[in-house]
Symmetry: C3
Subunit: 220 residues, 3 copies
């Protein structure tokens, strides 16, 4: 069975790690926005659990894992507390945070795709759901902070593509009956490495052609 | 049965047309906002499928149609590709886009109301759900773009009223057992025409009385 | 049974009161933002029903109460009509509105927690859901108005803490098998009083330590 891909405890700990690093990124944004301690906690929770919560509501995994597993709820609070007391130190290791965030991205796109397929979605829909799981928390974080989501801004390094590729690799493995712990790990690893390379070399996605048209220039 | 109102294939193609024109409007906003190619695709998908996704999650149609019908997912990508390569040309036919958008509005308020009623909601709730289906994608689009939703701005032409009237006509037809393909088409047609007239003649909704009060002026 | 805590009709009327006062706060924001009559109605509905709608979708209470009880839907429209015609008068009693809003906060955190527990969530998850029910509508209102949610801003008086305490009291009562109409009322009352005291004395939550660090100052 697909859900035996990872042993439950390995799966659980990988999830917790992904939740933790996403929570750190949410809490740091809250500090930069000058929010209070509750804002920091809210942003940690929303960033870490938002993508999975959306996925579970769409696929009908009710109640969502975020509300049935106490560790999923407490981990972001731990991250928020760390950032609250130590944020200059956390900032200083921003590079490390980015690496962990990439790890969360790679992990969530793989586990999200797998969980969606287990709940009966088709292959393409499962990949879309995996992508939504990986990027959903960040989008919610940015919307709550009253900012345009990084996901859609052209001046940010590629974020969606590594997750799309990771999710696509998973559905290809499912299609050819090759999905197991090893191939899942490879898919996650490739997504992580692509994200790290995108950050290292500043890879960006193109904007629409003919930017000099009247329409395009009105908002600039 | 209500779901036999339209033959499945007619219903499906009408839905696809509505999705396509809403996706065009989302993609154009993304281009104007200077987002990259993924932003354009995300905005096309969210605008086209957001209203129906919300409806399906509320009425318990899980997994939502957006994730079970591949055509629903691919159509916005096609619209995004068209806008990406041809946006000055698409802009030039803005008038045509508005007509199609009105068509989507009229169609979605009718099919949304019908689907909600089929899933057991009451008549009033079904009409509200039809309205939410018709306007939901646009609201999500504006929130993601970090703008105040057009829906609630007084300086935009009437958008909700045509959808409210279309949805109300549908529930009246249901109440008097007169809902069929013909009356559904009439309801959608009336909604579309009202929207086109609102745009043509700049119909707007009133703001609260006594705008010159202290409270009202503080934000201006 | 927990759902017999309040007699159905008492529970229902308490809910309606909470919905009404939240709707007033949403409609007033819409007037201040210069939205039209539909914006006022939309903000009244979203503020009043958003928290409960989110809760019902998460716990699987489908279709949500907001769509099955006509009173839940019509009450915000009544509030919107009042604000539309009388907003200077409503403004003048802003103090009274704040008291009612505090009443809604206290009530919703208690009923939200109770309903979540009835639907099988654990104690901690139920308390979180109660908090989300109490603050969710206000967050949605602020996001739609394109503002940073009051909930997370450090320059607003404590809002989450009273709801957290109210929800915590409810789960403690559940844990020790002491939940009844009386203890529920006490929990709601304590939450309301704490919120009123927070407004009266300007209680605020702390921001992260070391605000003078490089990271914190970049956005100021």
């Amino acid at each position: 069975m697909l859900h035996e891909l990872f042993t439950p405890s390995v799966q659980h700990w990988l999830d917790i790690v992904g939740i933790f690093v996403f929570a750190i990124s949410g809490a740091l944004l809250a500090v930069r926005k000058n929010f209070d301690v509750f804002g920091i906690a809210v942003f940690a929770e929303v960033t870490a659990l938002g993508g999975g919560l959306f996925r579970d509501m769409v696929i009908g995994a009710i109640p969502p894992a975020a509300f049935t597993d106490l560790g999923y709820f407490l981990t972001p609070l731990l991250a928020a507390a760390l950032v609250f007391f130590l944020h200059p130190e956390v900032e200083r290791i921003q590079g490390a945070v980015n690496v962990f965030d990439a790890a969360g991205l790679g992990l969530f796109c793989v586990t999200g795709t797998t969980k969606a397929y287990e709940h009966g979605l088709g292959l393409t829909a499962s990949a879309v759901m995996g992508l939504a799981t990986a990027v959903g928390g960040g989008v919610l974080r940015d919307v709550l902070a009253n900012e345009v989501p990084s996901l859609v801004r052209w001046d940010r390094d590629l974020y969606a593509v590594p997750a799309i590729i990771g999710a696509t690799l998973v559905v290809l493995c499912i299609k050819f009956d090759m999905l197991n712990a090893g191939t899942s790990a490879v898919a996650a690893f490739i997504a992580v490495v692509l994200r790290l390379l995108a950050m290292r070399y500043g890879w960006r996605a193109p904007r629409a052609w003919n930017r000099r048209s009247r329409a395009a220039s009105t908002d600039e």
